[in-house]
Symmetry: C2
Subunit: 340 residues, 2 copies
């Protein structure tokens, strides 16, 4: 019997890094040895995750000797530097950054959608963007049943997607506004921006840098990654991404044009049977997914399923998931589970 795997977490002090450890433990992933890695300034610190203490080691090329699985979530630059080193040392890297996602040599995997893609890996597998993952989990059952013609998405994304500092900023700004003080702004839309906006009690229609098309990188990620994961190179899809004052849990209003008729009742049935999906859809009784209730959950929650009469086969959906869990850590661990 296999005694288990040596697992490294890169970016272990971050929100996703800590969620990797929690999710691996919850799902009883067979870990023989843990190696929690972070930048030099965190070395020898001890962090407490789910009641257990772990000592942080420095992330560097030599840290990956003897490692079987390395989960990366420390930003694109760290992944570009160290993921190839980890692969050279024989580790399978599951990378949560955007560094390699669109590389045709690198599988981009959501286990409910394209599990077979992992088989093509050459040591490195990319985990998609959080807002992409929950969207494709919801789209896949519809696609499999009748085919997708077009998707229009508007997102409502929590600050946890921008890291711990953004969560703290939302707390601090909220208190300041409630106390009649001027809130300090330093993290939203992103760290290092030349201008920052208040996120408390506000909507910021800007996530990640703006590209030439005036789409944000977050919007382009959702478009390009969805096409790659679903194997629909030319899927007509457009997206507007918005940062909202929610601590954790992304929501999405999806408008879907299908290639053939599918009633809300039939769609609901497909979602009941779909892997990784929970249907919460009884609005007359006040039942629909909301981020306040999906915190800590691994599934993608779907509700507000309605016929859209403005096109022949239209459907509206409201999709919510914990972006740190299914949007990052859980999906990465599921990828590793496919391999063992």
């Amino acid at each position: 019997m296999n005694e288990g795997y040596n697992v490294a977490i890169v970016g272990a002090t971050g929100m996703v890094g800590q969620a990797f450890v929690q999710v691996l433990k919850e799902r009883r992933f067979p870990v023989k040895k843990w190696k929690l890695l972070a930048s030099a300034r965190s070395v020898d610190k001890t962090i407490n995750i789910g009641g257990e203490a772990y000592t942080i080691e420095e992330a560097g090329p030599d840290a990956f000797r003897g490692i079987d699985f390395a989960f990366f979530s420390a930003g694109g630059e760290i992944s570009k530097d160290l993921a190839p080193e980890a692969v050279k040392k024989g580790a399978v890297v599951i990378d949560n950054s955007s560094a390699f996602r669109m590389d045709p040599e690198v599988p981009l995997v959501v286990p409910e959608v394209n599990p077979d893609a992992v088989l093509r890996h050459k040591g490195l597998i990319s985990n998609p963007n959080c807002s992409t993952i929950q969207m494709v989990v919801a789209l896949q059952p519809l696609h499999a049943a009748v085919g997708l013609k077009r998707v229009v998405a508007a997102t409502y994304q929590a600050v946890s997607g921008a890291g711990k500092e953004a969560v703290d900023e939302l707390k601090d700004q909220s208190r300041a506004v409630l106390d009649g003080q001027e809130p300090e702004k330093a993290v939203i839309p992103y760290k290092g921006a030349t201008t920052h906006h208040q996120i408390a009690f506000n909507m910021v229609p800007h996530i990640d840098v703006v590209e030439d098309s005036d789409y944000t990188k977050e919007e382009m990620k959702m478009i390009k990654e969805t096409r790659k994961i679903m194997g629909l190179e030319n899927l007509p899809i457009t997206v507007t991404t918005v940062r909202v004052p929610v601590f954790n849990g992304h929501s999405e209003a999806l408008n879907v044009e299908l290639k053939a008729p599918l009633s809300p009742i039939e769609a609901r049935q497909l979602f009941y049977e779909a892997a990784g999906v929970v249907v919460m859809d009884d609005p007359a009784n006040f039942v629909y997914p909301m981020p306040a209730m999906t915190e800590g959950k691994d599934e993608v929650f779907v509700g507000r399923i309605r016929a859209d009469g403005s096109v022949p086969y239209g459907l509206n959906l409201w999709v919510v998931a914990d972006n740190i869990r299914k949007g990052a850590a859980t999906n990465s661990v599921q990828i590793a589970e496919l391999l063992i």
Copy 2:
């Protein structure tokens, strides 16, 4: 020279009621005599609006003798009871409730879109739903230029749209959550609901009651009212409305299919020239409309104007407005201005 008009405000203790007074004064509407009306329990109270004190009188059929304009915002039931009485007494009623909006005899007016409709009034003019108004102001220049083929809207609606109690609830719940307490829930999705949801740091995809189609009444208002105001009886349009933890200012992600080509540059030019629209659209320099900056403004703010390549002539817009001002009070006062 006309000495001015006698003006009654019905629902004067509410947020929109007070905004009526403020906007009438700011816009120097020629008021000869004010009559601030509310329910019996507020009678003889004095309310302070913009530094001036007004005494509340009881709203009843006799209150409208000698009144030229009566602005109503006290809910549909009060409007159904008292608006016909006010009309009988010779007043022109501008009603902010949904009671008469879809009545074919009653004009439903947004001055930037269908000013001529006021001419058909028989004493009563309806003011549209807040989220409808800002949408049609943004759609009209596009429609006038090239025609609309289809609209997909997702909204991000502030709690002020649910009244003062909802604003207080968001404050109280936010403090409770920040202090680690269980928030009290009584107003969202609406008062009298059998279940209430937390709005602080949450998204509630439910505004007003749920109808048979599983669309909410708010969603159906946006669909039906848009068609009536724009005179596009069969306009293909679908909507998802969501309540968000913002005090004031509704945002909307609009995806528009046009009947002929229109580049983002051309669209921007149309919006620059459009009445009541302010363009804020330089995302690379962090410029786009946000509710935190539209508070107290009368215009509709448009940004994130982008080509949508998923259909032949697609365009994405992000539209923000102060729902208490342009979404209610300002639009009503503009209607009265058309008549004098």
